[in-house]
């Protein structure tokens, strides 16, 4: 295995959870709901996926449990913000805090255990392509899902009727309501989709990235995923590009250190964030395009009149 191939494989593993969690949040935000609880839902997914895998011995059960756990956990956010119309920012932060605490309780019996790693699945024929084969077609299920999610969500949002309705709700929930679109029901589904994606991202952490359970192992990745949504100006393909850019810079700085090029590591560690800010400035210099993509009702509460 060549060096470049090895580096790219590491990048893919590092970027996948960011991309998945970010895609989920993108759909939630396109429906006009700002859920800052990604970190909490992700860590819940990681804990539940790991626990389910240890109990059953099958990491695939773990993946399903992680998705279900994230979705169920997000339902709490949905109930508080959509039904009880609580403040979305405060509730999202509370969800993160709660998730970090509860996941610690769920994971405690499994701390220190060696996990079961989700094994790669080679896709026949494609896996034999030199260079690209091992990179893209000898991956684990969650990587394949991440790519399918990008394609699927892009199609859903911009080519399907349901996606159009969802975006309409995100842009102007009052008008959408007047047209007879179910604002609250759609938002519930969008929130749960976001939770399911964050849970899947968490499952990737505890089943692929590092097959083990450690408290707070998400280590801020949920926040990065949140930032990626803005970075990508709410477009799925840009989430993919942004996630991989962030992953690539993070991994290259580790390699640069190992080469001993003598640049202070504190600076190198901040590079992924610097790169994100620079790209963000480049993308958002055209304010009109940015405004078109930003869901206009983002974070605003909606109470249907009766």
């Amino acid at each position: 295995m060549g060096m470049i191939e090895a580096i790219l494989l590491t990048v893919i593993t590092a970027a996948t959870p960011l991309v998945i969690a970010s895609l989920g949040e993108l759909v939630t935000e396109r429906a006009g709901v700002l859920n800052l609880g990604v970190e909490g839902m992700m860590i819940m997914g990681a804990a539940i996926a790991f626990a389910a895998t240890q109990m059953t011995g099958s990491p695939y059960v773990g993946v399903v449990a992680g998705i279900a756990g994230g979705a169920l956990f997000s339902l709490l956010f949905g109930f508080l913000t959509l039904t009880l119309v609580a403040n979305q920012v405060a509730t999202g932060l509370a969800l993160t805090i709660l998730g970090l605490g509860v996941s610690g309780q769920i994971g405690e019996p499994y701390a220190g255990m060696s996990g079961v790693k989700l094994q790669p699945i080679a896709i026949p024929l494609l896996a034999d392509i030199p260079f690209l084969g091992p990179l893209l077609f000898r991956q684990d299920l969650i990587f394949y899902l991440s790519i399918m999610l990008v394609i699927g969500i892009n199609w859903f949002l911009f080519s399907s009727r349901a996606g159009l309705k969802l975006r309409a709700i995100g842009d102007n929930h009052a008008s959408a309501h007047a047209l007879g679109i179910h604002v609250i029901r759609t938002r519930y589904l969008a929130v749960m989709f976001g939770g399911a994606c964050a849970g899947l991202a968490g499952a990737q952490l505890s089943l692929v990235y590092t097959p083990q359970w450690v408290e707070t192992m998400s280590a801020g990745r949920g926040w990065i995923a949140l930032a990626l949504v803005v970075f990508a100006s709410w477009r799925p393909w840009r989430v993919l590009a942004g996630g991989y850019l962030f992953g690539a810079v993070s991994i290259s700085q580790l390699h640069a250190q190992a080469f001993g090029i003598g640049i202070p590591p504190q600076f190198l560690s901040s590079l992924p964030y610097v790169a994100t800010v620079v790209v963000l400035i480049l993308i958002s210099h055209n304010r009109r395009v940015t405004l078109i993509n930003t869901p206009a009702s983002l974070g605003k509460p909606f109470v249907p009149d009766r």
Binding site: Y209, T210, L254, Q257, F259, G260
Partner: protein, 356 residues
């Protein structure tokens, strides 16, 4: 956000508060951990010590602990809470609890405090630490004997004296076997982020190191080493479960003997604040079994360990030059503890530049 996270951590800490109501004649010993007691590394090491203390002294003691206590202002509240709850002796187990410990100790002159890895003491505050560098030196000896590539990968956390001392000790041990032995150092800038530690381990493995050592907390690097078929050293706890065919040995923190000794002193009324820096001979750290290495390497490692225990060998003994080529220790000269505890330079033979 930070504030909220702190608030969270404190509330989590309060949840972890375990107080067993006991008879008054029991001596209550309390512990403050910076991490979770199941972190698989540093805080778990202290909690093992607490459990050993309970087993050894049985009915004479009761213990309580607070986990996930963040360093900073919240630490002071946590320590004060412990002091108020009737603890006779409080162990604050992380460097960042130093000032908070001193402050609370002033308010509770009758309670005895011991702060780990710090350097401030007072009438009722003592300090204690372990000479982890002794274990690092042994690891260096093993690395140089086992490695075919002649280069080890070192996953470091933050450029503080404790970590720099560890890197230097590791390389002094390696150079005692192979003067040309090299090290590649990656600073993860975290104590515990399994993903990032794994990434660092992969980067080092990709660049051709065949031995990994770490000064971070999780077993992720050990898992990567196992996957890549290279060898690794465990940190703070025996990590053999994460790499049965991979771990050469591990530095295991064994605070138990110390906690028993100091608690007994409180019971006997002989406790005085001291500045303790114990080593292998005192049992405050131990080496996990030497595994996955040829018998002659194992024998060499055991010999070095025995020499350090007996005091015949001090890892920081001259001649040693600093990285810039200037003399540090003359032939036969042993470094004083002050220099080690404030270490901010690499020794000769490390190619990397120390971040300042």
């Amino acid at each position: 956000m930070k504030k909220l996270l702190l608030a969270l951590a404190t509330s989590a800490a309060l949840l972890g508060f375990s107080a067993a109501a006991g008879a008054q004649d029991k001596t209550k010993v309390c512990f403050i951990y910076v991490g979770s007691k199941t972190d698989g590394g540093y805080s778990e090491g202290h909690d093992r010590g607490r459990q050993e203390l309970e087993q050894a002294l049985g009915d004479k003691v009761e213990t309580a602990f607070l986990e996930n206590v963040p360093e900073g202002p919240d630490a002071e509240r946590a320590i004060e809470r412990m002091a108020r709850s009737g603890c006779a002796l409080v162990f604050t187990t992380s460097f960042g609890f130093m000032d908070a410990t001193i402050k609370v100790a002033q308010k509770f002159p009758d309670v005895k405090f011991e702060h780990a890895t710090g350097f401030k003491s007072s009438e009722n505050v003592g300090t204690y630490n372990a000479r982890f560098y002794e274990g690092r030196y042994i690891q260096g000896v093993i690395a140089a004997k086992v490695s075919k590539a002649g280069v080890a990968g070192y996953i470091a956390s933050f450029p503080i004296p404790e970590v720099v001392m560890g890197i230097n000790a590791f390389m002094l041990g390696a150079h005692s076997v192979n003067p040309d032995f090299k090290v590649k150092i990656v600073w993860a800038n975290t104590w515990a982020d399994p993903g990032k530690e794994a990434d660092a381990a992969k980067a080092l493995a990709d660049q051709g190191v065949d031995i990994l050592t770490q000064h971070t907390d999780s077993t992720a690097p050990m898992q990567v080493a196992a996957e890549r078929g290279i060898k690794a050293f465990g940190q703070a706890s025996d990590m053999i479960a994460a790499g049965p065919e991979t771990q050469l040995t591990a530095i295991v923190d064994t605070w138990g003997a110390y906690y028993i000794k100091r608690t007994q002193a409180v019971i006997d009324g002989t406790w005085k604040p001291e500045n303790i820096w114990d080593g292998l001979k005192d049992g405050i750290l131990t080496m996990a079994p030497y595994t996955n290495m040829p018998d002659d390497v194992k024998k060499a490692a055991e010999e070095v360990e025995a020499k350090i225990r007996s005091g015949e060998l001090h890892p920081f003994t001259g001649p040693v030059k600093k990285q810039d080529g200037s003399d540090w220790l003359a032939e036969g000269e042993v470094s004083d503890d002050g220099t080690l505890l404030g270490m901010n330079f690499y020794i000769a033979g490390i190619d990397d530049k120390l971040p300042q």
